[in-house]
């Protein structure tokens, strides 16, 4: 076992983690622990853009952006946080440009902007050009630019270090504070204890609970799972976004920028069906609305293909030049993976699991909440793993790249300033006990269950029962499936028993987090008997502000330390979660009917 001591630890090296690291690294002794090389992070897969009311190509202002974000999130957005994000968006884009990000340019040489779903002028009258972009590789450019600037500032990375636990201690004032984290080094199998004054989780999403997803294999929600297993809450887990345009059958993302540039969704009759569902902004309605419309077209028999199970994204009228200059990557994806050339034929698409609106609850400085009011000293979260909540029940396109930059920066500054104001607090005795137990348990496990089979069964039940449309019955089915899978998870075997580069073992660990998070998602979805944003209940079709305009807070019941399954986070398999609710912060926008 090795010991390290830093002021600030950042867990995860995607956009949020590296944006935090750039701030923290210049203020305090900072280490970034990441399970994959930083440039592999899934921020790099984001395509379309990052919105900010720069007004470079037409009139815009951050108040419109705030309103769009709140309405887009179906009024479950914390309005104070959305206002901060929209206001700071402008500097966030300019900061990236000054760091070197190669944005597309206007004829005058300014940052170019384009349309995106749900982003409008004058509170919904028409789409507005707000998304700053670099072809359809905006996320790639952000990830590269942030990594480049981390190198410039000498940020210290521990690559291929899997953080599996966070440490808490009680300080002299009797306050429980964060004191570090424990990581498993992929190369050697060695366990490392990192003592720190503050820890920032920026570990991304958990799209791998679903089968059809735009998410990377590595998006297993580790950071959320770690925090959840400490008895800390997860907020709004029932709100999961299905991006309308995944390549049919594959889930690979086709950017909303395609529709921003004029792409049109059509059903089997060639009809532009979004005209019926969102007469004003049509194909540029927010993602939840477009995804539901597509699912309905298919359910009602107007899907395409031999199984009538997808719709078509038509860009044939845009011309080769627009596709090659503004949407080159997605044109290539379609050619490579479906053998369809978008220049001449429409692309088969269907909703794909894309983004967790929920996550680790934080305030606007990234401080993690332990309940509805108080925060955990020294513990921070930012990016998709966090829930500020700026996305409410449905995130607008581009607002994730914005979120990671605005709140990554804020969390990095706050964590460093906190570290300056405090002394190290002694770590608990045997800080690596839980991780050692988990790893030993898995390495010696001899059960008959296969990790891949449990993961596949999880993904299949989640796709079938907890995706775009949900009912009491489907959610109950999903919950009982997940709980049975958790039981089977207790009987897995790991084939690779070695110490070096044992990714087999780590896939088993990751599956444990996925099971916990799927259970939290389904459990909170069952309890939310209304339809709002990304959570659509067939049996409760309307939004119910009286009972449900509030955030859900899921608390895991902590395992008995003596339980032999405790290292896997297993506690038996029923009544595992306590559900509570938190009020939404409303400043100037009262909830209205959401029409586009």
């Amino acid at each position: 076992m090795q010991f390290h001591k830093y002021d600030v630890l950042i867990v995860g090296a995607g956009g949020a983690g590296m944006r935090a690291a750039i701030e923290s690294g210049q203020r305090a002794r900072t280490a970034v622990l990441t399970k994959i090389y930083p440039t592999r992070s899934h921020t790099g897969a984001a395509q379309g853009g990052m919105c900010a009311a720069l007004s470079n190509v037409e009139e815009d202002n951050w108040e419109w952006h705030t309103f769009d974000t709140i309405k887009g999130g179906d009024y479950l957005v914390d309005q104070d946080a959305a206002e901060i994000m929209a206001k700071e968006a402008i500097d966030a884009v300019l900061d990236l440009e000054r760091m070197g990000l190669p944005f597309n340019r206007t004829p005058e040489g300014k940052i170019d902007q384009r349309r995106f779903g749900g982003h409008t002028r004058e509170h919904g009258t028409a789409p507005v050009r707000r998304a700053c972009y670099a072809a359809d590789r905006t996320g790639h450019m952000i990830l590269q630019t942030l990594y480049q600037n981390c190198i410039k500032h000498g940020v210290e990375f521990f690559n291929e270090f899997y953080v599996l636990d966070v440490n808490m201690s009680t300080n002299e004032d009797g306050e429980e504070v964060c004191t570090g984290a424990v990581a498993y080094e992929l190369a050697t199998g060695e366990i490392h204890v990192f003592e720190a004054k503050s820890v920032v989780f920026a570990t991304g999403g958990f799209g791998k609970v679903f089968k059809t997803t735009s998410n990377a294999h590595t998006l297993t929600g580790d950071g959320m799972g770690i925090v959840y297993r400490k008895g800390l809450p997860l907020e709004d887990m029932e709100f999961y976004q299905f991006h309308p345009t995944g390549l049919a059958g594959l889930g690979i993302l086709i950017s909303e920028a395609v529709r921003g540039e004029g792409g049109i969704l059509r059903n089997v009759d060639g009809e532009r069906f979004m005209e019926r569902y969102a007469p004003t902004i049509k194909d540029l309605a927010p993602r939840d609305i477009v995804a539901r419309s597509m699912a309905l077209e298919v359910l009602e028999g107007r899907g395409c293909g031999s199984n009538k199970d997808y719709v078509l994204l038509d860009v044939t009228h845009l011309g080769e030049e627009v596709l090659e200059s503004k949407l080159p990557d997605i044109t290539a994806f379609s050619r490579t993976y479906l053998g369809v050339d978008p220049i001449s034929e429409p692309v088969p698409v269907y909703p794909t699991a894309h983004y967790a609106m929920g996550g680790i609850p934080t305030n606007v400085d990234g401080e993690v909440l332990r309940d509805n009011e108080t925060s955990v000293s020294g513990l921070y979260a930012a990016g998709e793993c966090a829930c500020v909540s700026v996305h409410g029940s449905n995130r607008l396109g581009t607002n994730s790249l914005l979120d990671i930059n605005v709140f990554g920066r804020r969390a990095g500054i706050a964590a460093a300033e906190y570290a300056h104001s405090r002394e190290h607090v002694e770590m608990p005795e045997e800080p690596a006990k839980l991780v050692q137990g988990m790893v030993d348990h898995l390495r010696t496990a001899h059960g008959g269950e296969r990790v891949a089979n449990i993961r596949t069964a999880l993904q299949e039940t989640m796709d079938a029962n907890a995706s775009v449309y949900r009912t009491e019955d489907t959610l109950k089915q999903a919950l009982s499936d997940v709980q049975l899978l958790k039981e089977r998870y207790g009987r897995i075997a790991v084939h690779d028993k070695g110490m070096r580069f044992n990714s087999d073992l780590l896939e088993a660990v990751e599956l444990g987090f996925l099971l916990d998070l799927a259970e939290a998602l389904v459990n909170s979805a069952l309890a939310r008997k209304e339809s709002r944003g990304g959570h659509a209940r067939e049996d409760y079709g309307a939004r119910d502000d009286t009972n449900f305009m509030r955030h859900s807070m899921s608390y895991k019941q902590l395992p008995d330390a003596e339980d032999p399954d405790a290292p896997l986070g297993l506690t038996g398999f029923l009544a595992d979660i306590r559900l509570d609710y938190k009020p939404v912060s409303v400043t100037r926008y009262q909830p209205m009917e959401r029409k586009y």
């Binding site: 899934h42 790099g44 070197g100 005058e108 300014k110 590269q144 190369a187 690779d496």
Partner: protein
């Protein structure tokens, strides 16, 4: 162990009993992988596996099938699975490719049984199976100062850049640092001290960026004995790049900038 190839052709029974059913339309293929487990093996060696392949499967699906259902010790890096993260560069049938970007339908033999060979990329030391030590690769990248360098105060708004100026370095901004180019280069294989194509591509990205002020410094670095002059214009790098970057052309442009000290 069920892992190794049996003589029993087309025998689906080679697959473990708890593997998922072979989908309709799948073809059995042989995947031959160069393996090395540092805790067990003294040398690299080949092992073969028979797995079902759908035409739309990627090579990565084959590797996952083996890892998940036949031999969990098989080790490789992967993340996004659609060619944007750069984790899974490897030698597939002798050429550097991303395993998630090669479709099986393009690998099927025209006649007879399909055999796919998969090896780790060359020139970086093998840590375990298809996973290599990436540190020297990233060290070369860091050495060319891969970040925008400017002097004076930052402007209050964005720096302006014309559409043409932005276009000048567009090609080299696409790099995903997968190392497919660098590890396809014969010069890099024989002399690991060579910066290699990827580092030069990333230098190019800044040298030709109108906003940057450190071109001279980077050119000096690449004028070094291990710099651009090592390039023998074999074009392996251009062929290997999964992003379609004109790598050799970028290297030539850096050479020309060095010769004439102008961009």
């Amino acid at each position: 162990m069920t892992a190794t190839l049996s003589d029993n052709d087309n025998a689906v029974t080679d697959l473990p009993s708890d593997a998922p059913p072979v989908p309709e339309g799948a073809t059995m293929v042989t995947v031959k992988i160069e393996r090395f487990n540092p805790e067990v093996d003294e040398d690299l060696h080949w092992e073969s596996y028979r797995v079902p392949a759908m035409p739309t499967d990627r090579v990565l699906n084959m590797l996952h099938y083996i890892k998940w259902y036949i031999d969990g010790t098989l080790t490789f890096r992967r993340s996004c699975a659609h060619g944007v993260c750069g984790s899974d560069a490897m030698r597939i049938n002798g050429v550097n490719r991303l395993a998630c970007k090669v479709l099986m339908k393009d690998m099927f033999a025209k006649s007879g049984e399909t055999t796919l060979t998969v090896e780790p990329i060359k020139g970086l030391s093998v840590e375990k199976d298809l996973l290599v030590d990436m540190e020297p690769f990233f060290e070369a990248y860091k050495a060319i100062k891969p970040y925008l360098v400017t002097t004076g105060n930052d402007p209050s708004r964005e720096r302006t850049q014309s559409v043409a100026e932005r276009e000048r370095f567009d090609d080299t901004t696409k790099c995903i640092l997968c190392a497919a180019c660098t590890t396809s280069c014969p010069v890099y294989w024989s002399e690991g001290s060579y910066f290699g194509p990827a580092a030069i591509v990333n230098a190019h990205r800044f040298i030709f960026d109108s906003r940057d002020e450190a071109a001279e410094e980077r050119l000096d670095i690449l004028n070094d004995i291990d710099g651009v002059w090592r390039c023998r214009t074999t074009f392996n790098c251009t062929d290997a790049c999964p992003q379609g970057i004109q790598v050799t052309k970028a290297i030539q442009e850096v050479k020309r900038a060095l010769m004439f000290r102008r961009r």
